[in-house]
Symmetry: C2
Subunit: 193 residues, 2 copies
């Protein structure tokens, strides 16, 4: 994908990329997308996040197995083999980012609005990736195997994992994204369908 | 604020803007930021959102009263007068956007990961606003008075309100945002503090 600096074009060209070329993501590129993430807003600017960056092949393979199990559970398919897991998106991505957010002490668990302090950072990270020509996708399916994945990665009970975001150079070309016309999703001054 | 087209500069210059000039936001500008929102990713690209756009002074004043009540409740302050509410951020913003998301049928309520299908759209909307020189801020404090606000705006039980986002031309100049160094919030391959 070509780099993009025009903001509106950037929004229009963010796509879910799940297959990656066998080409490394440099430290510099990785730093740039993480920098973008940390500039996101969060509740009272508390910046309650931690970004777990996975590059080790063994760790990605173990995570991929849990992720493919989660996918299979959701789809009602039989469990994947270890081999299948190693051919999966998570194992094959050069980098996987796991954005985590502090669990609010008040309630003891991450609720709907906790997402307001981590998903904007995820979006900044993915937009920055796309701006550089890098592909990514956000999945929350891993949460079906949340306990096992948190144990695997050592995520403490004080944090919640918001997503898995694989990153890499796209394996093919992508056109602009497709969306419903905005008029279909807007109402003025009072709810209407 | 000056318009921004360089993406990384855009991230660095998103600020929480709470005071606005007495100058209208045109339909064209509003359309642009809503277009940006709808290009955001969502779970399985379901686009499960609806954007309630408030411009009517009476509606904004009523909402402002509930919002100021929520703020007062959170801070343990006495309830605001109607006059105080009408001087508040929500009443004085030329436009207030209330992004709403479909409540998952499976669980019957919006959970943490429901946010993955609406907060990226909020972030696109605010980034597009900033790119145009428009100020905004995301607040979830309204949720303390969620029932009253949903009744006021006619939001059905099948939707959850993710935030209030006031929009307007900033009342003053803003420098870049301030964040902790990214290294403080990143770990590699396994959790570490």
């Amino acid at each position: 994908m070509e780099p993009i600096v025009q903001v509106m074009e950037l929004f229009r060209h963010q796509r879910a990329v799940r297959t990656f070329r066998d080409e490394p993501v440099t430290d510099e590129v990785l730093h740039t997308v993480l920098e973008a993430a940390r500039h996101a807003p969060s509740g009272s600017n508390t910046q309650p996040w931690r970004f777990l960056v996975l590059r080790d092949a063994g760790v990605k393979a173990d995570l991929s197995f849990e992720y493919e199990l989660a996918q299979a559970t959701r789809a009602g398919r039989p469990s994947p083999s270890r081999e299948q897991a190693e051919a999966g998106m998570i194992a094959r991505a050069p980098v996987v980012v796991v954005p985590c957010v502090t669990v609010p002490g008040r309630t003891g668990h991450a609720g709907f609005q906790t997402g307001a302090s981590i998903y904007p950072a995820c979006q900044n990270l993915m937009l920055a990736a796309r701006a550089l020509g890098l592909g990514s996708v956000l999945t929350t399916t891993h949460r079906i195997r949340r306990a096992e994945i948190h144990a695997l990665l050592g995520i403490p009970v004080t944090y919640e994992s918001a997503a898995l975001i694989p990153l890499g150079w796209p394996g093919r070309a992508y056109g602009p994204n497709r969306r419903e016309p905005v008029e279909m999703a807007v109402c003025f001054d009072h709810w209407s369908e």
